[in-house]
Amino acid sequence: MFSTALILISLSVLYPLFFTITQKKIKTWNYILIIAFILLFIKSIFVFFGISNTEFFTTSLINISFLEAFFMLIFSIVGVAILFYSNYYSSFLNKNKLNYYTIFTNIFLLSMLWVIVSAEAFTFLVFWEFMSLSSYFLVIHESDKQESRISGMWYIILTHIGMFFILASFLPFLIESKSSFFSAWQNINLSYNSLLLVFIASLIGFGGKSGLFPLHIWLPKAHPIAPSHISALMSGFMVKLPVLMLLKFYLFFMTGIDIRFAYTLLILWAITAFWWIFNALIQNNIKKFLAYSTIENMWLIYVALGIVVTWIATKNNTVLALWVISTLFHTFNHSIYKTMMFSMAWSLIERTHHNYDYSRLWWIAKIFPVFSIFFLVATIAIAWIPPLNGFNSELTVYSALINIISWNADKVLSLVSLFSLILVWMMSVLAFVWFAKLYTIIFAWNARDTSIKLDTKSNNCEYISYTILTFWILVLSFVPWIINLFASKIFSFIDTPKTLLSIQIWDINYMPVLISIILIILASLSYMFYKSIAWKEEKMDVWNCWYPKLIAKSQYRAESLIQAIRRVYKWLYSETNSLSHISKVEWKSYYKKYLSSIDYKRWYFLKVHFLYEKLINFVWAISTKLKSMQSWVLQDYVSYMLLTLIITILYILVFNS
C-alpha cells in the first residue's frame, strides 16, 4: 500500500522530466496523486490499528512506526486537500513554466514523504535537502521579480545554515553508535557535552526551519512569494517536520536530557512569538499576515514540546504524560486550518485581480456567502475561539503550564512556565483581535476601495478542498478524543491515562459538542421568537458624517481599527517615514509636512536585519581576504593540497601517539 503510493508519487516526478505538461495533464496527475495520498491515509490508519498488509517491496531505509504514521496521516489529509486545490490553481499558472511547477511540486511532495518515513540519517539528509531545494525553486517561480529573488536568497541561505547544524546534531550519534540507522541511536548514553551539542545544533537546525528567532526571517519573506498551494503546504506541513524530528530526538535518542533544555526552548520561542506578535499587528498583506500567524502557532507547538522535555527531564509526575499530547494535537490542528487559510487567501487574491492588501477588500460576505462561511469556520478555528479546534489544543497547553506551576517542584521552572503562560495569554487575546480584524475587514461592508472588483465564479475543486479541511476541523473540534487514540499508541511507553474522552484536562471539563448544541438550540429558539413577532424590515442609509454617501476617505481603515493598540505599544516600533508609495506628482500637490505620515508597510520591530547585516559584513570581509589565495595558478592549488596533507599527517602523528 505504502509502496504503491511511493511508486505513484515517484512516477509523477519522472513523467514531467520527459514529457511536456499541459494543464489537462496536471489535473490527471493530481488525481493519480490523490489516490496515492488516500493510500497513505489508509496505510497510517492500518499502522495504528495494527493491521498488516503486503507491500511490493520493503527496504530498511523506511520505517513507519506510530509517530511517523501520525505525521503521515496529517500529510495525507493536507495533501489531498492541496491537490484538489492545485487543480483549481493550475489554471492560473504560467503556461511556459508548467513542467517547472509540476516537477518541483511533485519532488516537494515526494521528499516530504521520505523525510517522514526515512529510518536512516543520510537518506533523511538527502531528502531534507531535496525538500529545501524544491521549495526554494517554487519560492522563486516568479524569478523575474526582484522581491522573489531576494526572498529566495534568504530562504536558501538560512535553510543551508540549518542543514549544517542538522548534520552537526547527527554527528555524535553517528560516532557513538557507528551506525546511520535511527533505530541504532536509541539507548545510547552520550556525555553531557555531546548532549549539549546535539541539543543546540538540533534546535538551530530544526528550529530554523520552523521559524525560530533569529532564523525566522525567511518565513514571512518566502511564504507570500511562493505559489499559494505551496505556501499552504510549507506553512501547513513543512514547518511541522522539525517537530517530528525533535520529538524523535527528545523522546528516543537523547537519554539524560536536562531540565535547562526545556527552559531554553520555552524562552527562545517566547522571544520568537514576541517578535511575531507586534509585526502581524501592522501587516496588511494577507499572506504575510498568515506567515506571521504560522510563527505564532509554531511557538505554541514548541512550548508544548518544552513541556515534553520538562516531563522527560523530571520524570516524577505521571499526570504530565497527558500533556505530551498537546504537541501532537496542536500540530494536527494547525496543519488543517492553516492550509485552509492559505488556500482561501489565494482564492481572494486571485478573485480580486491580484490584490494582496486585505484592507482594500470589502462586502464579500454579501456577494459570496458560501465562501464567507468557510472562511468563518477557519477564522474561528485559527483565532482559538471555542467551540472549534484551535481552542482545544490551546486549552491543553494552558492546563499543562498551570499544572507545572502548581506542581511547584522547581522555582526556576515555575517562573519560566509562568513567563510562557503569560505570553500564551497575551498571544491568544491578540490573535483574537487580529483574526477578528482580518475577517470583518474582508467580509463585512465597508466601501474602502471601489476599484476592487470581485470575480465570483466558483470552482468545484476549490470547494472540495475546503470541504475536506472543514470536515477535519469539525472532527478535531467535536471529537477531540481521537487524538488520544493516536497518542496512547505513540506514547505507549509513557503509560498515558485514558481520560481525554471529552477534553477532560486536569479538572477542566470542556465539552465542545454539548456547548455547541446548547448554543445552537438557544440561538434558534430566540431566532424563532424574533421571527414570530410581526415586523416589517426596511433597509436604510446609515449616518454618514454629513457626507451624501459613504466614501472611502471618511472611513476607518485596517490601520485605524488598531490605532489605539498601536498607540499603547508605540515604544516597540521604529517608524520609518517613507514616501515610496506616493508618486512624485501627487507628492507636490500636498503639503510636505502632511505627507510625512507613516507608511505602514515599513514598520520594523526589533531590528533583526541589523544582526544579519553585521554577519554579512563579517563574512564579506573574511572572504575578500581569502580571495587573494585564489591566484588561478595551478601550482598554487597543488601546494595548498600538499600543505593540507602535511597538516593532516602532523595532526594524526601528534594526537594519535
Binding site: I402, W445, Y530, W535
Partner: protein, 303 residues
Amino acid sequence: MYILFQLFALALVPLFDSVIKNVKAFWNGRKWPSLLQTYYDFYKLFTKKWQFISKFTSYLTILAIFVIFAVSLFLFFFIPVWWNAPILDLSFFIFFYVWSLATFFMIVYAMDNATYFWWLWVEREFFVMALVEPILILVIATLAFLFWTTDLTSIHTQILNLDFPFIVGFMVIALSVICFYVLLAENKRFPFDNPATHLELTMIHEAMLLETNAKHLAIMELSSKIKLVTFFSLFIYIFFPFTFWITNIVWLFVLWFIKALVLAFIIWTWEIFIVKIRIFKYQNVFIFLFLLNIFLLIFYILK
C-alpha cells in the same frame, strides 16, 4: 428546579437596570423612574412595527445577533450563580473563552453594519480587550494556583469554608480588587466608560448601539444586561460566597438577589463620586493591575 429559578432570575435582569437608574437619580437629587421602567422599554422595543437596518448588511448581522444572545443566555444559565449544584461544571477558562465567541460576533455585527459609531466601538473594544483580557486570565490562573482548581464550584466551596491559610486570604482580597476593575472595564462602566453619554469622544459601549433600533436594539441591550448580571453573580459567587448558614433554596436565591443589589448600589454610588479616565490613560491602570497580579503570582511561587 434550578432552571425555574434561573428563568426567574432572567426575568429580574431588567430590574437591575432600573436599580442603577434609581441609585443615580437618588444621588443626583432627581425624581427616579418606576422600577418597571426598563420592562416598559423592552416591551416597547419588542413591539415596534418597523425594523430599520443598514442597507449594507449581509446574513452576518442576523447570525451575529443570535450568537451573541445565545452565548449570553448560555453563560447566564449554566454558571453556578447562587446554587451550588450547577447543571454544567463550567470552569473559569471555558466561561471567558465562550464569552470571546460573543465578542467576535459583536465585532462582526459592528463591521457588517458599516456605521461610523460601530467602527469607533470596534477600535476601542480591541484596545480595551488587549489590555483587560490578559489580566482577567491572570486572575483565573492565580485562583487556579491558590486552590488547585479552575472549577467555579470548588473555588467557591473552598473560600466559603475558609479552607486556606491566612496569606492566601490576603491574596484573594487583592485579587478581588483586580477583578472588580476588570468587571467594570469588561462591562464598560465608570471609570472606563460613561454609559450615559453619547459623545463620540468618550463612549465605548453606547457607540455600538447608536444606530441599532427596535428588536435588534432590544436583543443587544438585553444581552449586555445579562452579561452585567452574570459578571455580578460571578464576582459575588467567588469573592462573597458567604451564605450565613442558610440552606433553603428559596432563601439562597433571595440572598443572591440582595447581594447583587448591594453590589449594584455600591458600584453606582461609587460611580457618582469619580470621574471617567481618559482613553489613553487606561493603560496606566491596566498595566498596574497586570503587574500587581504578576507580583502576586511570583510571590506565590517563591513563598
